[in-house]
Symmetry: C2
Subunit: 174 residues, 2 copies
């Protein structure tokens, strides 16, 4: 039994290690690590032994891999909620257009505590940022006094959240 020890050598002939990196500097993951992530996407507190049984590894090995994935920043194990149910009254997605290099703008957004999510995109917006605020005043303040002021920012468009319908992290399990 413990069926696929194979996975660690057949699926990807190379080591599970960071033998090859994508250009962004993030390590490449083998099938076993993906399996571990998949298990933890279902339940972030699942015991290492149970994960090991599922992916064909010992408890200790799973523990080492998980620790490494966390250290590398590849994954994080956290509680997620719908902010609207936890006292934050206003949440919005903001589309941003800017001139020149977008990196400094994105970095400035990343530094703001109210900004939960920043992604650079292709399309009619250069950057999308998700904002979580206490109330309308707070939201207005962040957008007008903190974002639209950033050097290079040409325009913004806001989408205030009315209702969160879905929020999952289980793409691994489909």
């Amino acid at each position: 039994m413990h069926s696929e020890r194979v996975a660690s050598r057949s699926a990807d002939p190379r080591d599970p290690r960071d033998s090859r990196e994508s250009r962004s500097g993030t390590p490449q993951l083998d099938a076993v690590s993906l399996g571990i992530i998949e298990q933890l996407q279902e339940d972030g507190r699942r015991p290492y032994a149970a994960i090991g049984k599922a992916v064909g590894l010992s408890e200790a090995a799973v523990r080492q891999r998980v620790q490494k994935l966390l250290d590398q920043g590849v994954m994080q194990i956290v509680a997620v909620t719908d902010p609207l149910t936890v006292g934050f009254r206003r949440q919005a997605m903001v589309g941003i257009n800017a001139d020149g290099d977008l990196e400094p703008v994105a970095d400035a957004l990343t530094a703001m505590p109210e900004v939960e999510y920043v992604v650079m995109t292709a399309g009619s917006f250069d950057i999308l940022a998700e904002i979580v605020c206490e109330d309308d005043d707070h939201l207005l303040d962040v957008i007008n006094k903190r974002i639209r002021i950033l050097p290079g920012v040409r325009s913004t468009e806001s989408f205030v959240y009315l209702k969160l319908k879905k929020q999952t992290y289980m793409w691994g399990t489909r």
Copy 2:
């Protein structure tokens, strides 16, 4: 010591229970539960005893509260990653405009495994949906053959992700 047992009765005079619900049917949370969530937003695997010490509750009480929060769907404890680093080549935010009742459209989106995030918004889009795909063909397929076909959908606009800059869930700790 165990300073604020107060919190469970002074901050909000009512029980920590779902004595009063917001209109969406989600229970109201007291300060202690918020504290627990905050702890788990920093580290989803933090031991119950450590959380208890931080919020002034026994280990068993924390365990019961966490279980209840999970059962109620108020929070989930999961591993989150940047899909782009885990083998999914294409990710996009799609803005959608539709006629009539938006609920069925949102429900249909929610049912799609490739859709990770669905939110109804105010602004020039009615719905925002985040999509995670294997590659360009897959993405194109989902948008053209699955989303734009939905009854009521008038138009869509896509923002393909180039680089994820920030992704946090620690709004509680600021």
